[in-house]
């Protein structure tokens, strides 16, 4: 291999540069998709049913413009709202609008049915304002819909037509809002705005996080490898593999999602490891064998590092590929992109790094004297080894207790699929959502479509039953249904003491004629979203004041129960249900990808250690770390969401390396003639420091995520530190304790690549402490 890569070195270098440059040029073509609906496969029931309902009643995604002041009912405030409302009405791509000036009042007045706008003339005196306040409180279509109950807020709700791009629609609305607003505070909310802000934040994250991660990585590499020339090799690998992975997004016809932004960060954190091993190892070898030619040094380098790097790479790739079992589309994409990137990094590290070393040379970097920190470090590792040897039973018991404790935390784990929670508490869109949920009946909806003869009184009464059930449930805000309109009309037709008041008419003709009455008095478009023109489909729109997974599932099961024996076909959809399915997809995806990855890692470890017991012991830190992670999330209240659901698979990919490294090294020590007990401090001093440094490199790479605009991604950054930390502790403390206590038979397996030179060093596979720029054999 060495001869081959040296022979074709210039071709390899050119190919490397062309790949990097070509990929980099494709990256600007990446588009972002902030619509969480597209994260879910079309085959999932809630998405298909929502599409079906929306094909009849239009898209249910609404924007809300919220106005707040101590007292909304003043001439000035209402005048400003009217001007803004008028400006919004001038946007032709607004397909529907509900505002204080469009809401109708249906009332009976001296034998007349009066259908008029709630506000025809803005009252300027106190009496007029008091009357308006009374009208609002008595109008079921105004209270909690266009005015809050406490009259401190008002809202304009609008539905955007899909004929115009959403971003253009929002620009027009923003432009309409550029007016003098007096004392009123204006907030923008609703799913289209959430998507807009998500889009902005994803792009901001891509611009901010990637350079931040690169800078952190550069600094960590500089500290570890000493010279900039040494730094540039792994950095170049990271740069090219990251560009290559990102270029795959447009090439596959995919779009960036909120979680795809994790791909470059994963690669920046992970892909440099192989380069670091090689560069550091070359530094060590060139120092140890100053008389060897560069070619011989590279041959020695590759013979000693090929296998462990390959095994590490394969376990990482298999862990990441576990995400392919995920039902969430971007999660699969992250798995494939990151696995492709790590594979490319593996390949390039094994080919390009040696070529570049051959062509450019690497400055020999070695500190002649151990620093005080290093001495303390080695003392600490030595002390840990002593404790492991003396108290391995206690260590295992304590570790088991900790793991069991965290198992109980898993039962507290909650799932969060509410996109609003991606933003920080003070983000304007989060404040808007809070106001919508608390004062305007909720921002997320469940839609129920009934296909039947809607004019049939039996059907209408069942619709009314379902509507009333929904109105009475906790967590549900506003409910809109055609049966409510029929009942309101009945109030305008009959007097309170007459039979028929606030009732559904007994006959089909009665209902039909009531609609005719409304057609003539109000505007049939008013209920177009609740009843199709042929009267064969009705729509119940349920807004959720608490769009939580439990509430959504409760409402869904309630509707399913009421649908049994319903005289018509009932279809249940809506964005909130898509979110609930999203939550279940997260759980299923988490379980499937975990099982896939754990089994794969177990098999790989079994092959590497040539023993199932070896595979089982090697999997212990990983499984324990997953439990600790999920338990910690349960105890700390960090919820499982689109981003944090990827943690365990990424952790498998990254964290299992440490176990392989330790057992590989420990095995070599035992093979060299040391006892199980003697091998612990030796392995610890050889590989312990490398594992710690590597863990720090990975953690620091992921630390860039704390700059993310999304709460979820920030949590992801913190959780990576915990999970990688627990993997590291598992590899350095639990694994040696198991090995010393149980002395498994698989230890002593022979490695193919063990050379005489490496045996001399007692350790063939790893660059020992040279990752830190320090030779342990100096």
């Amino acid at each position: 291999m060495t001869d081959f890569i040296i022979k074709y070195r210039w071709f390899i270098i050119r190919l490397f540069i062309i790949t990097g440059a070509g990929s980099f040029l494709i990256i600007p073509g990446i588009k972002t998709d902030p619509d969480i609906r597209n994260y879910i496969p079309e085959s999932i029931a809630s998405r298909a049913e929502t599409d079906k309902i929306e094909s009849v009643f239009g898209v249910q995604d609404m924007i809300m413009i919220l106005f707040s002041d101590g007292m909304m009912i003043s001439h000035d405030n209402l005048d400003i709202i009217r001007k803004i409302d008028r400006s919004i009405s001038r946007i032709s791509s607004i397909s529907d609008r509900i505002s204080p000036f469009t809401v109708k009042s249906i009332r009976s007045e001296e034998g007349m049915m009066v259908v008029d706008p709630l506000i025809s003339i803005i009252p300027s005196d106190t009496d007029g304002q008091k009357k308006l306040e009374k009208d609002i409180s008595e109008n079921r279509f105004a209270a909690n819909t266009v005015f809050s109950d406490d009259l401190t807020s008002a809202a304009i709700t609008a539905t955007l037509s899909s004929s115009v791009p959403e971003t253009l629609n929002l620009q027009k609305i923003d432009s309409a809002l550029k007016t003098e607003t007096g004392n009123m505070q204006i907030l923008r909310g609703g799913l289209p705005y959430i998507r807009k802000y998500l889009l902005e934040e994803v792009n901001r994250d891509a611009i901010l996080l990637i350079p931040a991660a690169l800078v952190i990585m550069l600094l960590v590499l500089k500290v570890n490898l000493g010279t900039w020339r040494s730094v540039l090799l792994p950095f170049g690998i990271v740069f090219v593999t990251t560009a290559l992975s990102m270029a795959l997004i447009p090439l596959f016809g995919w779009k960036m999602s909120i979680i795809t932004v994790l791909v470059p960060v994963i690669l920046i954190a992970v892909a440099n490891n192989y380069g670091i091993y090689l560069v550091a190892r070359f530094q060590e070898l060139s120092l140890r064998y100053p008389d060897l030619s560069k070619k011989d040094l590279i041959r020695l380098l590759l013979s000693s590092l090929n296998m462990p790097i390959l095994f590490s790479g394969l376990t990482t790739v298999s862990g990441l590929l576990g995400l392919m079992m995920h039902s969430i589309i971007p999660a699969r994409q992250v798995g494939l992109l990151a696995a492709a990137g790590v594979s490319a990094a593996l390949l390039m590290s094994l080919i390009v790094v040696p070529v570049m070393i051959y062509v450019s040379g690497i400055a020999k970097f070695i500190r002649k004297k151990k620093t005080r920190t290093t001495r303390r470090f080695e003392k600490l590792l030595g002390r840990i080894s002593e404790i492991i040897i003396a108290r391995n039973g206690i260590i295992l018991a304590v570790s088991l207790s900790i793991v069991l404790l965290f198992v109980s935390g898993i039962f507290l784990l909650r799932i969060n699929t509410n996109q609003e929670n991606y933003f920080s508490e003070r983000h304007p869109v989060r404040e808007a959502s809070k106001m919508i949920n608390s004062k305007f009946g909720g921002s997320q909806t469940i839609s129920v479509m009934i296909e039947s003869d809607i004019l049939d009184p039996v059907v209408m009464n069942e619709i009314d039953k379902m509507t009333r059930w929904a109105e009475g449930q906790k967590g549900i805000g506003n409910v809109f249904s055609i049966s409510q309109i029929v009942r309101e009309m009945s109030k305008a037709i009959y007097t309170k003491d007459e039979y028929g008041y606030d009732m559904i008419p007994d006959t089909r003709e009665g209902i039909a004629q009531m609609f005719e009455l409304y057609n003539m008095s109000g505007n049939p478009e008013d209920y177009r979203r609740l009843l199709d023109p042929a009267y064969t489909k009705a729509h119940i729109l349920i807004k959720l004041a608490r769009p939580e997974n439990e509430i959504i599932m409760f409402v869904k099961s309630g509707i399913d129960e009421l649908s049994k024996g319903f005289p018509g076909k009932v279809t249940t959809g809506g964005y909130a249900l898509i979110m609930a399915d999203f939550a279940h997809s997260i759980i299923r995806g988490q379980i499937f990808s975990l099982i896939f990855a754990v089994v794969t890692v177990f098999l790989l470890l079994s092959i590497i250690f040539r023993s199932f017991k070896g595979g089982l012991i090697g999997s212990v830190p990983l499984i324990a770390s997953i439990i600790v992670l999920l338990g910690f999330m349960g105890f700390s209240g960090i919820e499982l969401d689109a981003a944090t659901a990827l943690l365990s698979s990424i952790m498998i990919g990254v964290g299992v390396d440490f176990t392989i490294q330790f057992i590989w090294c420990y095995n070599l020590k035992v093979n060299s003639g040391l006892s199980f007990t003697e091998a612990v401090p030796e392995a610890m001093s050889t590989i312990g420091r490398s594992i710690i440094i590597n863990a720090l490199v990975v953690m620091s790479g992921f630390a860039a995520l704390i700059f993310s605009g999304f709460t979820s991604i920030r949590f992801f950054g913190y959780l990576v530190i915990i999970s990688i930390g627990s993997c590291m502790l598992g590899a350095l403390i639990v694994i040696p304790a198991i090995l010393v206590r149980y002395r498994p038979g698989f230890i002593g397996f022979k490695t193919n690549k063990t050379s005489e030179n490496e045996k001399e060093n007692n350790y063939a596979g790893y660059p020992s402490a040279t990752v830190a720029g320090v030779s342990t054999k100096s």
Binding site: V114, D116, S163, I493, R508, E516, G522, E525, P533
Partner: protein, 250 residues
């Protein structure tokens, strides 16, 4: 400068005042009395259709007052439903509706001229004689069929624009007969959203006419509504007692 102004001056010299054309056009479309049957067909974008048939009787009075009595014949659910409309020129219309299934007559007050007429693409304003003072008029010079005036009507205030639901309307009027052939309606972003075509008229004496067949196409939702009148008769002597609540409930 003269070169720019000359065509405008010529156009102004050649065309009668736009408001006067619209007034004459309106006058010719107002009949003293009329009876007939009207079929309304609404075709959805997907091709599904709904039909309604009503009988209509109307009578005009001095001062712009017009009374109409409408009775639903189809569909069966609403057969017998009847409406009495008093169309005032300057004050909101008065409307009574009789619902035979509920055995109730209710008076309705509404001021929305832009709202849909019977769930069709026609608005209430399209179905009544226009109130001339609500708009300002001018000739426009765009390409159109020969021998037609092309007149733009713009609501005089924002409130009127809200009421009617459009920012401007372009009317194509035959120069010889003063009959409106086509109307184009533009939204507030100046996008054409609705076109009404007058496909057939019944000529009366004194150059007056009644529309027999017209179609409204909504360019935004792809829906089309067509109205065809049949059994039309004009000028019959209708007693004022026909337009009473007692007759409505018959």
């Amino acid at each position: 400068m003269l070169a720019i102004l000359l065509p405008l001056l010529q156009a102004s010299a050649q065309n009668p005042d736009a408001a006067q054309i619209m007034m004459k056009c309106r006058d010719l479309s107002i009949t003293r009395s009329m009876t007939g049957k009207m079929n309304l067909k609404i075709t959805e974008k997907n091709g599904s259709t709904r039909n309604r048939t009503i009988s209509m009787t109307s009578k005009s009075y001095d001062g712009g007052l017009e009374k109409r009595l409408i009775r639903f014949l189809e569909p069966a659910d609403v057969r017998g439903t009847a409406m009495l409309i008093v169309d005032n020129r300057d004050i909101p219309d008065e409307m009574w509706i009789y619902l035979p299934a509920l055995k109730k007559t209710r008076r309705i007050v509404t001021s929305e001229k832009g709202k849909s007429f019977m769930s069709s693409e026609f608005s209430n304003a399209d179905m009544t004689s226009p109130t001339l003072s609500d708009f300002s008029y001018k000739h426009i010079t765009v390409a159109g069929p020969a021998n037609q005036w092309i007149i733009e009507s713009i609501p005089v205030t924002d409130d009127k624009a809200d009421e009617y639901g459009f920012s401007r309307r372009i009317s194509y009027i035959d120069k010889d007969s003063y009959q409106t052939k086509k109307m184009e309606f533009y939204g507030f972003d100046n996008r054409l959203f609705k076109v009404i075509e007058i496909r057939d008229v019944v000529l009366l004496r004194d150059g007056k006419y009644m529309i027999r067949d017209m179609a409204a196409s909504n360019l935004l939702n792809g829906r089309k509504s067509e109205i065809v009148f049949s059994n039309l008769s004009e000028g019959t002597d209708i007693d004022d007692s026909f337009f009473t609540l007692r007759n409505l409930e018959k």
